[in-house]
Amino acid sequence: MSRVSLGVREVSVIPKEEAKELLKRLRIRPWQLPWIRSSDPLAKLVDAKPGDVLKIVRESPTAGEFVVYRLVVPG
């Protein structure tokens, strides 16, 4: 199987507790995170359901490696 690099190194659904912790640290509510559709290949890969928070580690031209969080939405 051939792989296409999207600069993504790691994807995972983070546990509810960790998500709560994250939202508290950023002082935001879930919907204020960037969104990703549950039909997105990346979300499908880890079988994410709407309401989950994805942790995505990807390549960054400035920081080398960077972690972003995304809220899975229906669709």
């Binding site: 960037p34 960054s60 400035t62 972003v68 939405v73 669709g75």
Partner: protein
Amino acid sequence: MSLREELDTIPRKVIKSIKFGVLSPEVIRKYSVMEVTTSEVYDEGGLPVRGGISDRRLGVAEPGARCETCGQTHDVCPGHFGHIELVKPVVHVGFARVIYDILRTTCPNCGRIMLRDEEIARYRERLTRLSKRWRLLAQNLHERIRRKAAERMTCPHCGYKRNKVRFERPYYFYEETENGALVKLDPEMLRDRLGKIPSEDLELLGINPSVFRPEWAILKVLPVPPPHVRPSIQLETGIRSEDDLTHKLVDIIRMNEKLKIAIETGAPTNVVDNLWDLLQYHVATYFDNELPGIPVAKHRGGRPLKGIAQRLKGKEGRFRGSLSGKRVNFSARTVISPDPHISINEVGVPTDIAKILTVPEKVTAWNIDVLREYVIRGPETWPGANYVVTPEGRRIDLRYVKDRKALAERLAPGWVVERHLRDGDIVLFNRQPSLHRVSMMGHLVKVLPGRTFRLHLAVCPPYNADFDGDEMNLHVPQTEEARAEARLLMLVENHIITPRYGGAIIGARQDYIIGAYLLSHKTTFLTKKEVAFLLGAGKSEEDPPEPAILYPVELWTGKQIISHFLPKDFNWVQPTAFKSKCQDAYTCHGDEWIIVLNGYLAKGVLDKKSIGAEQVDSLWHRIARDYPPDVARRWLDSSLRLFLRYLDLRGFTFAMDSVYIPTEAYREVEEIIEQALKKVEGLIEDFTSGRLEAMPGFTVEETFENKVTDILSRVREDAAQVVEKYIDKNSEGYLMAKTGARGSLVNIVQMVATLGQQTIRGERIRRGFRSRTLPHFPVGDIGAFSGGFVKHCFRCGLTPVEYFFHAAAGRDGLIDTAVRTAQSGYMQRRLINALQDVYVAYDGTVRFGGSMLLQPLYGEDGVDVSRSDHGKVTDVKLLKMWIR
């Protein structure tokens, strides 16, 4: 009452939410104070006709008269809406698209949405779930529902087989019957259909029926705005000129009257329909006079009338022109011109402008004497004052004060004097287009004679300014807070490092660079007098260094003078543009490497690479980064003045001699051109005889073009090598190109050897006459010269044909830049509008208007580029050097 107190009396409310909806006919009638029934505006006496468009019950916009509804005068009466009862309904053009979307998804017979009951239940359930948490996704679902309903042609509720609805912009609707004929749906039919739709079904289509019933999109009543919205103007001749909207409303009323008469007199249907359509046209163009597919409504003079949409749209419209683009006080605009003597922090302001712009200064025990002096000098003489504000808040205009001495005596702490702009005041200086933050910086005022703003040459790059007639704006901050912010955050010296890439954007250019090169050159020796002169130019207050040569006369080297101004703890090593043989700085005997030891320039010449703007990892970049902004600024100020003064002393002239190469060089260039032409001839022969083979992915013609372009463009490169070999390395042209002061080797080659191939859009010149570029060539000529190859140089002179091709290529470049700036300007506008609410919060996250999170850490590494070493927090190599 002062302004502050007055503002406090205004009741304030917090807006929680805004709801957009459509006025129903009942609401329009309720709002209305009168029905407009006649198209007559004024009677013979010039008085407004009752029931007309200028009826006094709608309010009064001109002074003197009284409103017949509220009884107030023009400055208090807010104006009151009236209404017109349309004889037959018309489509509101702004909602035509919405009407179409509703028509094609609902049943014309029973009005229900074209979905089965179970589908409706399912969608409704999903919508209520989504609308709670995913508002944006709910919109997508509405779109899906619409698509689904539009597909179905038989109504699941009444079994009616409907026809396809066709929409023709801007406001025509047709029904397509089985035999393919189009039947027009008039607004009355539309209104009947829309009125039948139950409100619950509308919710599925994304419409909130409490603020919008679809039949309201068909107008039966038209609101008439008060004269405040469409004021008439009285010309000096006494003739009244009405607003475009008034004209348009009169058209509507007149057409309405005609239609009414036609119906009452029982005119044939086609006459009625024609009038009805005209009424529709007038109502539509009243809203928007730039509708596609219908003629623009015009004045008698031919000028297009301004509809409501035209008032709001575009650059001069309400949004961009009046709300985003307000004009401001305490600002000035004039032509800029260069002044190398002022600091980069300063701006030269003409006295005439300094006498108009003012700074409000509170009177205190410490400044009362100066301010009294200013008040006595008044508005006419600089430095004076224009206004005095008493503690009660009364503004006294000094132009009309007879005894200014007496007023000055009354001055006491607590008063405010609006004094003239004077040296050292902070102002904001700006040049459009304001593309990045350094397009507007804080400058310190230097009041100068003349009529132009004076700008230091080194600050041209951030503004992208030159002096071919550029104008710039100046703003005077009026509060202590604003002045403090400008001084601390916006002052030029704090913006030497650009946030774009973390390098210096301000630095030496052109004359400064060549001056610095010549001063730092090994052969430069200076007498005592010259040294004194130069140190004076740099405003040095320290003793000159010991002379390098003591006998027979005391002489100083240029490097000594440059070192005199360098910080004493500064160390730096870097290659110069003249680096060729030396790989290591410390074993090099020439001036190929710069070595600065404890503030002493031991080796190397200065050039663009070391002191120029926009050069990363350069001597100037290090000074700008490693020393406080004011130290770096002072170094730049004095060194630049020094370089320029040396250039003045020495003299620097670019003349014909500066672009000279010997005869044998010309012979070589001639040979190169000869060879290239021969090759092209060979190619032409291959091509015309059909022997030329196409390269993969290209046609034969393309292959030929590619090869010819390749050969001819190589001519200039080859000629450049010849020029490099033969040209005098000390000629002014070569020095300027090499040091980076101005121009490049290509420019010299074009002056001295050959201009080479001229191109339009990156290709050889092809267009012009039939089968040839100019009538000077035989038909079908595809050779080098007819394709824009210029064999001569500027020094030798171009033939007329060559001159033409050169001009054509030059024009191509101009068009290219014009198109590019227009395109990038539009992109910039859209980006700014889209991203205006993005900010970096105090926790380093990037957020959007206080709600959405965009990045958990700014730029993913949290670095402020303008405080960085071209993007990195620290330069590890440098750290190592410092530690050692």
